[in-house]
C-alpha cells in the first residue's frame, strides 16, 4: 500500500505510520504533507480513497475534514470535486433510503463546514429540507403519519450533526440554527411518541414502554443539555481549531440544494390494518439503530456527559457496522476510540444491546459473540470482568427479559464460555437449585448447560461445574438413544416386536431396497400387527440404525425415508412419527431437534404436523421448563420461512433473466428483420434479404433466443406458482400456530373478564408456601398426565427470588414465545392479518394473547 494511503487509513491511530505519536495535529500535518506531494499525480486516486475512508471510519471524520480544509488551500478544484461528489452520493442515499450513508454524510458535511469548505448556511439548508419533509410526513392532512419512522430518522440525523458542529453553527449562524431547533421542537410536539412495546428488552411494567422516552426524545434532551453547556463535547475531537488561522483563508464551495423523496402515499382505505402494514414497512426501511439496554448501575457511566454517551455509541456502532468480518481492525478500533475517558461499560452495554436487539440485530448474533471474545482478549485486564458484570445483571433480570433475548443470551453465553475453557463461577448460581423447576433463572442455567454440552461433551461440562457440583442435577441426561428394542428390557409383548425389529435391521444390513421393505411391511407386518406396532418398530429401528451421527441419520433417511413416508401418509400418522422420534431421542434434545428438522427437509413430515406435535400434552407441560419444544417449533417455522426466501430470491433472479432474455430475443429478431429487409445482389440481380447462409444463421439465433425467452418465462411462472402455494401454506401454518396458542392459553389463563395483566400474573403468589404448593399441584396439566411433580420438594424452598407459581409462569413463558414468534415473522404475518383477525383473534380471544401478538407485530392497541 502506498504510504499516503496508509497514512490516511491510520490517521488518528497510535501506529507506526505516525511513530506512535498520539497528537492529532502532528498526524494531520504529516498526512497533509504526504497528500500535498501526491496531489498532482494521484488526485484521481486520492479522492475516492479519502471519501471511502470518511465513510468507513466515521469516527475519524473530524481529522479527514481538517485535512480536506487544508487541501482546499492547495487545490480548490480537488476539494470542489469532493463536495460535488458528496452532494451526488447524498442525494442518491436519500432517494434510495440508505440510512447509514445519509447519517455519515451529514456528519461529513458538518465537519466540512467546520473546516470552512462549505458555508454554514448551506448546511442549514440541508437541515431545513429534511425537517420540512419530516414535518409534512407527520401531518395528518398533507402527509402520512404511518411513515413517522422516516421523519424521525431525518430529525435524528440533524440532531446527530450537532455534537460535531453545534459550536460553529451557534457562533456563525446563531439565528438560523435556533430556527432549526425551534422547528425540531415543533416537530416533536406533532409526532407521536414511539412506543417501545414489543421491542423492549424487558417486560417490566405494563406501561413502562410508554413512559420511557423514545430514542428521538432522548436525543433531543441530550442535545439541549449540550446546547446549555456551550456545545462542549469531550468525545468529539476538534482538530480544525489548531489550524483555524489557515483554514479561514480557504474558499467555501457551493453545496447545492437537495431534495427528499416524495411522501409515501396513503393507503387507499384508511383502516388500522392498512396503517399498521405501512408502519411496519416504514420501520423496516428506517429501523431504529439501537435501543439502550441500561443494565449497569449508573455509577459506571455517570461521569459521562449525556451527549458523550450518544457519541461513543455512534462510534461503536459504526465500527461494528464497517468492520464486520475484520476481526483485528474491529477489536482495535473498538478499544481505541478518540475519547479521553474510559468506556468499557458503555462498550459492553452497546454490544449487548446489539446482540439482543429486537426484532433483529444488524448481523447474526454469532458476530457479536466473536467481537466480545476478541475484546476479552484485547483487554484481558478490563473487559472480561465487565462482560461478567453484564451477564450477572441480565441474569438478575432474566424473569423480565424478553423470551427471544433469553434464547440469544443462552446461545451467546454457552458459546462464549466454550472459547474460554468453560470457566465460570457457577457456585454463585448454585442457589437456583432451590428454586422451583420453572423459575426462569433455573431454566436459564439448565439451558446454558445444555448448549455447553452440545458444543463440548457431558463429562467436560460436568467437570466445569465442579465449584458447584450440585448443579449436575441441571445437566441434560447423558444423551444416548432410548431404543425400545435394544433387548435390554424386552418384556412380554415386545418380544415379538423385538424380533420384527431385528428382522428389519437385518434387511437393512443386507442392503434390501426401500421398495422391498415396503412390500415386506405391507404384506406381513401391517396387516398382522396394526399401525401402532408397525410404526413403532419401523421408526425406532431405522432411527437406531441412523443414530451414530448426523451423517448416518441423513443416509438412513435418504435410503429408507420412503418406507416411513409410505407408512405415515397423513398428518395424524406424521404426528405419531414425530412422537416416536421424541421418544427415541428423549435424552437428547439436540438429536430430537435435528431429526425432526431433517424429516421436514425430506418432506417426511409437514410443518403442520410438527406444530401439532409441539402442542401435544407432553410438550405443553414443558413450555415453561425447557427450550426443547420451542427449538423444534423455531426450526419448523424458520425452515418454512427459508424456503419462501429462497423462492423469492430465485424469482428475482429469474426476473432479471427474463428481462435479459427478452432483450436478447428482440435484438435477434431485429437483426433478422434488418437482414431480411436488406437488399443484396444475387447473381447481379438485387434481391430482398441478405445471403441465405447468414439469413439462416440469424433465423436460428432468433428462434433460439425466442425459445430461451419462453423457457425463462415458463420457469418464472412455475416458480411464482410455487411461491403462491408456499405463501398459502404459510398462512395455514400461522393460522394453525395461533389457533394452538389460543387454545392452550385459554385453558391456562385466568378468566379474561378478571382484568388480568402480565404484571398481575407475575405478582400472583401465595402468601405462604403451603398455599402455593397445594394450588400448583392441582394444575390441569399435571392432572391430565398424572406426572409426579418433582418440583414440589424444591418448591418448598422457593422463596425470595421466584414467587411466581407454576401455572402463572407457564402463561408468562408461553405468552413470551407468542410475542417472539409474532415479532420475528411480522413481515410474513402482516399479509395474512385479515384472515387471522377473522378466524383466530376474534372477540373471545384472550386479551393477553391478543396483546402479545399485536405487540409482536408492533400493531398499537391505540391505533385499533
Amino acid at each position: 500500500m502506498s504510504s499516503w494511503k496508509s497514512l490516511l487509513l491510520r490517521i488518528g491511530d497510535k501506529s507506526s505510520e505516525y511513530n506512535s505519536s498520539s497528537d492529532f495535529k502532528d498526524h494531520i500535518e504529516t498526512c497533509f504533507g504526504a497528500l500535498r506531494r501526491e496531489l498532482l499525480h494521484s488526485s484521481s486516486e486520492i479522492l475516492p480513497f479519502l471519501l471511502q475512508c470518511s465513510e468507513q471510519l466515521p469516527h475519524k471524520i473530524p481529522l479527514y475534514g481538517t485535512l480536506i480544509g487544508l487541501l482546499n488551500l492547495e487545490d480548490e478544484d480537488f476539494v470542489k470535486k469532493i463536495v460535488e461528489n458528496t452532494q451526488d452520493s447524498f442525494q442518491d442515499a436519500l432517494d434510495s433510503g440508505k440510512c447509514d450513508i445519509i447519517r455519515i454524510l451529514m456528519r461529513f458535511l458538518t465537519v466540512l463546514m467546520c473546516s470552512k469548505v462549505i458555508q454554514p448556511a448551506s448546511l442549514v439548508v440541508v437541515f431545513e429540507t429534511l425537517l420540512s419533509s419530516a414535518a409534512i410526513t407527520v401531518d395528518e392532512e398533507k402527509g402520512n403519519p404511518s411513515w413517522q419512522a422516516r421523519a424521525d430518522f431525518y430529525v435524528i440525523c440533524i440532531l446527530s450533526c450537532l455534537p460535531w458542529g453545534g459550536a460553529e453553527l451557534a457562533e456563525q449562524v446563531p439565528e438560523e440554527i435556533e430556527r432549526v431547533l425551534v422547528g425540531i421542537q415543533a416537530y416533536l410536539s406533532i409526532r407521536r411518541h414511539t412506543s417501545n412495546s414489543g421491542l423492549s428488552f424487558f417486560e417490566d411494567g405494563e406501561s413502562g414502554g410508554d413512559i420511557e422516552k423514545d430514542f428521538l426524545e432522548d436525543l433531543w434532551e441530550r442535545i439541549q443539555v449540550l446546547s446549555n453547556n456551550g456545545w462542549k463535547v469531550e468525545s468529539v475531537p476538534r482538530p480544525h481549531l489548531s489550524f483555524e488561522a489557515q483554514l479561514v483563508g480557504g474558499k467555501s464551495h457551493e453545496f447545492g440544494p437537495i431534495s427528499c423523496p416524495e411522501q409515501p402515499e396513503l393507503p387507499s382505505t384508511i383502516s388500522a390494518v392498512a396503517y399498521g402494514k405501512q408502519k411496519h414497512e416504514a420501520e423496516l426501511k428506517y429501523p431504529q439503530r439501537t435501543r439502550r439496554l441500561n443494565i449497569f448501575p449508573a455509577s459506571k457511566t455517570e461521569d459521562l456527559q449525556p451527549i458523550d454517551r450518544f457519541v461513543v455509541e455512534e462510534y461503536l456502532l459504526d465500527v461494528l457496522l464497517f468492520f464486520n468480518g475484520c476481526r483485528k481492525e474491529c477489536a482495535s478500533f473498538m478499544v481505541g476510540l478518540p475519547v479521553p475517558f474510559r468506556y468499557e461499560y458503555l462498550m459492553a452495554e452497546t454490544i449487548f444491546s446489539q446482540l439482543l436487539l429486537l426484532p433483529h440485530p444488524p448481523f447474526k448474533p454469532i458476530y457479536y459473540t466473536l467481537v466480545i471474545m476478541d475484546l476479552c482478549k484485547a483487554l484481558p485486564g478490563a473487559f472480561p470482568a465487565v462482560v461478567a458484570g453484564a451477564v450477572r445483571a441480565l441474569f438478575d433480570k432474566i424473569a423480565d427479559l424478553d423470551m427471544e433475548c433469553r434464547t440469544r443470551l443462552i446461545l451467546w453465553f454457552s458459546h462464549h464460555l466454550s472459547n474460554f475453557q468453560f470457566i465460570w463461577p457457577w457456585d454463585e448460581w448454585a442457589y437456583v437449585l432451590d428454586l422451583p423447576r420453572w423459575a426462569p433463572q433455573r431454566v436459564f442455567v439448565q439451558e446454558v448447560l445444555e448448549r455447553e454440552v452440545r458444543l463440548s461433551y457431558w463429562d467436560k461440562i460436568k467437570q466445569s461445574i465442579e465449584n458447584a457440583p450440585a448443579l449436575e442435577e441441571l445437566l441434560p441426561p447423558k444423551g444416548g438413544p432410548n431404543f425400545k428394542y435394544s433387548g435390554v428390557d424386552g418384556q412380554g409383548k415386545t418380544e415379538q416386536e423385538q424380533a420384527l425389529s431385528a428382522e428389519l435391521s437385518n434387511k437393512v444390513k443386507g442392503r434390501q431396497s426401500a421398495r422391498e421393505i415396503i412390500v415386506w411391511i405391507e404384506e406381513s407386518i401391517y396387516p398382522i400387527h396394526g399401525l401402532e406396532v408397525t410404526l413403532s418398530v419401523v421408526v425406532q429401528t431405522l432411527l437406531d440404525i441412523g443414530s451414530k451421527s448426523f451423517t448416518h441419520l441423513i443416509t438412513i433417511l435418504e435410503r429408507y425415508g420412503q418406507v416411513m413416508a409410505k407408512l405415515c401418509s397423513d398428518q395424524d400418522k406424521q404426528v405419531m412419527l414425530i412422537a416416536e422420534v421424541g421418544s427415541y431421542w428423549k435424552n437428547n434434545a439436540q438429536m430430537t431437534a435435528i431429526t425432526i428438522d431433517r424429516m421436514m427437509s425430506c418432506r417426511l413430515v409437514s410443518n403442520l404436523a410438527i406444530v401439532r406435535w409441539v402442542f401435544s400434552p407432553e410438550n405443553i407441560e414443558q413450555f415453561h421448563l425447557s427450550d426443547c419444544p420451542w427449538e423444534v417449533l423455531r426450526n419448523a417455522v424458520s425452515k418454512t420461512y427459508n424456503r419462501i426466501t429462497d423462492l423469492r430470491k430465485e424469482i428475482s433472479s429469474l426476473k432479471k433473466g427474463v428481462i435479459s432474455a427478452e432483450e436478447a430475443a428482440s435484438k435477434a429478431k431485429a437483426d433478422l428483420e434488418a437482414a431480411e429487409s436488406k437488399l443484396s445482389l444475387v447473381e447481379g440481380e438485387p434481391v430482398l434479404g441478405e445471403n441465405p447462409a447468414k439469413l439462416k444463421h440469424l433465423k436460428s439465433v432468433a428462434e433460439k433466443a425466442k425459445e430461451e425467452e419462453e423457457s425463462m418465462h415458463d420457469s418464472l411462472e412455475a416458480k411464482e406458482a410455487l411461491l403462491a402455494r408456499a405463501l398459502d401454506e404459510n398462512e395455514v401454518l400461522f393460522l394453525s400456530l395461533y389457533k394452538n396458542f389460543c387454545t392452550v392459553l385459554m385453558e391456562h389463563l385466568p378468566d379474561a373478564s378478571s382484568d388480568v395483566t402480565l404484571q398481575s400474573l407475575k405478582s400472583i403468589h401465595g402468601d405462604s408456601m403451603a398455599v402455593d404448593l397445594e394450588e400448583s399441584s392441582t394444575m390441569e396439566v399435571d392432572d391430565e398426565n398424572g406426572i409426579p411433580k418433582k418440583s414440589q420438594s424444591n418448591g418448598g424452598k422457593a422463596s425470595n427470588t421466584c414467587n411466581v407459581k407454576e401455572k402463572e409462569q407457564w402463561c408468562l413463558s408461553t405468552l413470551g414465545y407468542v410475542k417472539a414468534f409474532s415479532r420475528q415473522y411480522a413481515s410474513e404475518i402482516w399479509p395474512h392479518i385479515e384472515k387471522l383477525d377473522a378466524e383466530v383473534f376474534t372477540e373471545d380471544v384472550h386479551p393477553l394473547l391478543r396483546k402479545a401478538v399485536y405487540s409482536g407485530l408492533r400493531q398499537m392497541s391505540n391505533e385499533l
Binding site: 464497517f322 476481526r327 483485528k328 478499544v335 447474526k364 484481558p380 485486564g381 478490563a382 448426523f550
Partner: protein
C-alpha cells in the same frame, strides 16, 4: 462492508493442488461455493458438535467428516455444506480462529466436496498439516496477537478491575484465565517435554491438547470409533517439510 482493510481478491491463501483447473477457476469456485473446509480440529470432535457450532451461521445441509484413509476414523478436518452463500461467508468470517473442543479451528471456503476428499491425504492415512497446518499456525499466531493489541486509549489505562469474574474473589479469573490460556499451549508443551521426546515430530499444539485432556478416559467411550493416536502427516505426493 469493510473494504478498506481487506483485499477482496484474496479469498484463500491455500491452493488445493487436487483441484483440476486454473487458478482463476479455483478462485471462482471459492467465490461461489457454499462449502467450508474446517481444519485443525480435535480427532474427538463429533458431527453433532460441528452441527451445534456451525448452525449458528446458518442452516446446514451436510457435514462430511475427514477420515483417516487407513483406520477410517476422524482425523482432524471436515467439510460443512450450507444452503446459502451468505451463511457460508458468515461461517468463515465468524468461526475461523475460534475454539471448538478446546482447539482453535480454521474455517475456509472450499471449492466443493467431491467423493474421495473425505480421506486424509497424509502418507500414513491422516490429514496433511504441512501446507494447511502452517497457515493455521500463522493465522492463530496472528489472532493471538490480538491480546497485545490494546494499543488504543483503553489499553493505555491500567486495569482497575480485578481480572476475574468473581464476586467471591480468588479462584478462576476470567481475564486472568485468558492470559493463562494464552501461554497455555507453550507452557503445557514445556511440561510435556517427555511426550515431546517420544514423538518429536508431532504438532506441538495438538500434542499439548491431548496431554491436557483430563478426560481421555471418558472421551473414547463417547466416540468408540475414534483412534487414540496419530497426527498430521506428510502428503503422500508432497514435498512439504514438517514444522520442526
Amino acid at each position: 462492508m469493510a473494504s478498506l482493510f481487506k483485499d477482496p481478491t484474496k479469498i484463500s491463501a491455500y491452493r488445493d493442488r487436487r483441484f483440476n483447473g486454473t487458478q482463476e477457476e479455483f478462485e471462482q469456485a471459492l467465490l461461489n461455493s457454499t462449502t467450508v473446509y474446517i481444519g485443525n480440529m480435535s480427532f474427538y470432535t463429533t458431527e453433532e458438535q460441528v452441527y451445534e457450532l456451525f448452525s449458528r451461521a446458518g442452516e446446514i445441509k451436510k457435514i462430511i467428516m475427514g477420515l483417516d484413509k487407513n483406520s477410517k476414523t476422524p482425523c482432524g478436518f471436515c467439510f460443512v455444506l450450507y444452503y446459502s452463500r451468505e451463511d457460508t461467508e458468515d461461517a468463515v468470517k465468524y468461526i475461523s480462529g475460534t475454539i471448538l473442543d478446546d482447539r482453535p479451528i480454521r474455517v475456509d471456503f472450499d471449492w466443493g466436496f467431491v467423493e474421495g476428499r473425505q480421506w486424509g491425504r497424509g502418507r500414513s492415512g491422516g490429514q496433511v498439516r504441512g501446507g494447511y497446518g502452517k497457515l493455521v499456525q500463522r493465522e492463530l499466531e496472528a489472532q493471538r496477537q490480538l491480546v497485545d493489541y490494546g494499543a488504543g486509549s483503553l489499553g493505555t489505562f491500567p486495569p482497575v478491575m480485578p481480572p476475574h469474574y468473581g464476586k467471591h474473589g480468588g479462584g478462576h479469573g476470567h481475564g486472568g484465565s485468558y492470559r493463562h490460556g494464552r501461554d497455555y499451549h507453550r507452557k503445557r508443551h514445556r511440561d510435556d517435554d517427555r511426550h515431546g521426546r517420544e514423538a518429536p515430530k508431532r504438532n506441538s499444539d495438538h500434542e499439548s491438547r491431548r496431554a491436557s485432556d483430563h478426560d481421555s478416559d471418558s472421551r473414547p467411550e463417547k466416540n468408540p470409533r475414534f483412534r487414540e493416536s496419530g497426527d498430521s502427516d506428510d502428503e503422500e505426493d508432497n514435498d512439504n517439510k514438517r514444522r520442526p
